[in-house]
């Protein structure tokens, strides 16, 4: 029988369309993030089956259902350790992690720091809307001081965290901020993040049109300034990145704050994965090694 060699057709956005349409509110910032992720994957031409999209719980964590890749919709706050496990077992997979600010910086805050520290080669995309949406509008770790929410009807008295500064301080090797309203810019950031070898973090302003009346598309649009438009900005300079990350107000920088490529990612530093993925290893261990383990006990 003749073998038919088919030239694989280039992947298009349609190939990454999920089985169901997003159930986000009309106008939600997350639509823009989904579109940008799909576009980035098309531009990078990564086959669907080689991608695992992992999320926690929340509006934005419904993401894996809306994109055609292998997906894991896990527990609230736990996407990063699950994704780390996936990557460690099969480092040939492209691992994307999606979620919100409550999921990532609230309940999952501990994992955020430690996944950064481990420099796991995955891309963490936070759709940051500065509010808890799916639970109908409570204060989140990034809600601004004074913001009125259902859980702080008289105004938030706790300071928000700065995810960019935090990621930099924890030692992230790729730190960026995007805006759902800046599609092309976000797509480009995502491509760089996915190609980065190590932990890449993108905090994306993804306005909640239902519960956050403060940080809307209209509020962000005049404020966001692309770091890429500033020719003097050097994203390899950590202290400069820290300084930029603290800017908030009339001018809010978006773009790539920082990237370093000199540190190995976790699976690159791990000797056990040097000869292939864990999942491709034989089930039984080497008999000589096994015998040595027994001999040690004799």
């Amino acid at each position: 029988m003749a073998t038919i060699v088919e030239t694989p057709k280039p992947l298009t956005t349609a190939d990454f369309k999920g089985r169901v349409d997003p159930d986000w509110c009309p106008g939600c910032g997350d639509f823009g993030v989904l579109a940008a992720v799909q576009k980035a994957l098309v531009e990078l031409q990564i086959p669907n089956h080689q991608i695992v999209t992992v999320s926690g719980i929340g509006c934005s964590s419904n993401f894996p259902g809306f994109i055609e890749t292998y997906g894991m919709h896990t527990l609230h706050g736990r996407s990063l350790p699950v994704a780390t496990g996936v990557k460690m077992a099969n480092h040939e997979l492209t691992v994307l992690v999606t979620g919100g600010d409550g999921d990532g910086f609230g309940i999952g805050g501990n994992h955020f720091t430690h996944t950064i520290r481990k420099n796991v080669d995955l891309t963490y995309i936070v759709m940051d809307n500065q509010i808890y949406g799916l639970t109908t509008g409570q204060t989140s770790p990034t809600s601004r001081l004074g913001m009125k929410t259902k859980s702080a009807p008289y105004g938030n008295i706790e300071s928000p965290i700065n995810p960019i500064t935090m990621a930099l301080a924890a030692g992230a090797t790729f730190v960026a901020r995007g805006f759902s309203g800046e599609q092309k810019h976000l797509t480009d950031l995502l491509k760089q993040a996915i190609q980065h070898k190590g932990f890449s973090f993108i905090d994306v302003f993804s306005p909640c049109v239902t519960y956050n009346k403060d940080n809307t598309f209209q509020w962000f649009r005049p404020r966001v300034k692309k770091l890429e438009d500033d020719a003097s900005y050097d994203a390899s300079h950590w202290l400069a990145a820290i300084e930029k990350s603290t800017l908030w107000g009339d001018e809010i920088p978006i773009g790539k704050f920082f990237e370093r490529t000199d540190l190995p990612s976790l699976h690159e530093a791990e000797p056990v994965t040097q000869h292939g993925t864990m999942v491709s290893r034989p089930e039984h261990i080497d008999p000589a090694a096994a015998q040595a383990f027994i001999d040690e006990l004799m």
Binding site: D23, Y70, T74, P287, F293, M298
Partner: protein, 592 residues
Amino acid sequence: MSHTFTIGIGGAAGQGVATPGDIFAKIFSRRGLHLNAYNAYQSIIRGGHTFLMIRTGPEPVTNMGDSLDLLIPLNQDTMDRHLGLLRAGGACIYNADTIKPGQAAQGVQLCPLPVSTLADITRNKVAQNTLAMGAALSMMGIGFNALESVIVEQFGRKAASVAEENIAVARAGYDYATKNFKPFAYSLPIVDTKYAVLSGNTALAMGGAAAGVKFYCAYPMSPSTGVLHWFAANGRKAGIMVRQVEDEIGVVNMTIGAAQAGVRAMCATSGGGFALMSEALGLSAMAEIPIVVIDCQRAGPSTGVPTKTEQGDLWQMLGAAFGDYPRVIAAPLDIGDCFTLIPEIFNIVDKFQVPGLVLCDLLLSEGRLSVDPKILDFAPPIDRGEMITSPNGHAEGGYKRYLITESGVSPRAIPGVPGYTHVVSSDEHDEDGVLISDMYTNATKRRAMMEKRMRKEAGIAAAVPPPRLQGPKDADVTLIGWGSTQGVIEEARAQLAQQGITANQLQIRWIVPLHGEAILDQLRNAKRTIIVENNYSGQFARYLRSETSFVADGHIRKYDGEPFMPHHIVEAVREQLAGDTQLSVPAHEIMV
């Protein structure tokens, strides 16, 4: 059990109790003798009181026993606490310079060593330990060569001079004892077999390696940390990825991630860590991702007594995570079983795509036992169940991860296989993985998916053997235990037999599924049933009652942090047979 010989070595943490313990263990196992060791200690790095018991003999030694033949107190405190444990014919070897003997029982030989005249104590800080070891071996009738070769191994790695110096000190103790002390009446035989000596934690880890675990991760927590230590030291040699994670929530979720990517993945913790893992067990069950989680129980609640044993986590495990889901729970019966159980439980969890929980305890985790190296089988059968790892078979797009089947098991494709993309979810989902939790709630589908998952329980029950009564069919008393009490109950039965009381034993290894009908069947003709367990409330008794309506006649419970000794059970059985009580709580006489 035939003749055994028990040594107790005690001192403050940091005084060097472990080294003589290791040396004795090696000497005994190389003589072809069985041994069982248990270290009673505290959560302290320096100071406190550590007491190691090593019991040896030509036949399997299933527990620490009731008394001592030899006591080596490294400080006055140990002398004061434990001299009373020596039985007639026993001996106490101690440093005459620093320790005053107490009142020993009739027939106990006190053996003072003039340590400062026998060794240069300014040079060798542990001279008293080494002298005592030498003296002990002389009195046991074991030639000096056995000790010499083990000392070379133990200290040779440091420097030849260290070994030489210790050999000289040991020799001085040996010769002094030969001249001045009476040898033990029972001399330990030499048997032509060789045993491996290992802790339960090492056995659990090696069992994992044998089962094909490729990913292990943990957060340090006593008494489970030894499992992590074995994997960390040997993972690279065995081709196993080992990670220390920020907390137990991360641990179990990372385990689930690795398992979803297609490898066998395992983690171990103790009760507190297991509590943190609880939610994710539901994820494992709902997303149908098989993992194995080991809980090495310690005395709770809360931080509890971190260095003490208990069987107090049963109900935590039975109720871990909310909602109904199929799970497997097994409790290893001894240290050898810690090894054997892991490949067995992995085959079940892989086949049925459920979480598997191993209920171990500190007694096994940190105890040491001699086992026939044959049971350490590194090539056991491995059945990964219905896994799709290559694109053969299904057509593109038609794959349903949660296909409704008669068995409840749906073929599992792992990420990376073309044509099988799907989403696994903690939310309720349809056959194809699409969520039916939020926008598309659907009572009919929800019911179908619940029933699909729960149908696995029937298959799991069929895959697990029911427990069998051990000992005479017709007995005065039937002792029911679970997990680590197998050995001590066995010896208590032998002691009862000597006193004219026949006892048989039903020991539970598979806790879920329980096989209630088979248990009732076995207990139908029992004259008197007594449940023995290391907890306050009778957790297993309550579980057995809830599953079978069976109510035992009596209970023996211990929750002081220390394991049962055979005589605790014997005396409790006698008082219950005499009609004095239905609940015995033996007092632990070893003060640690």
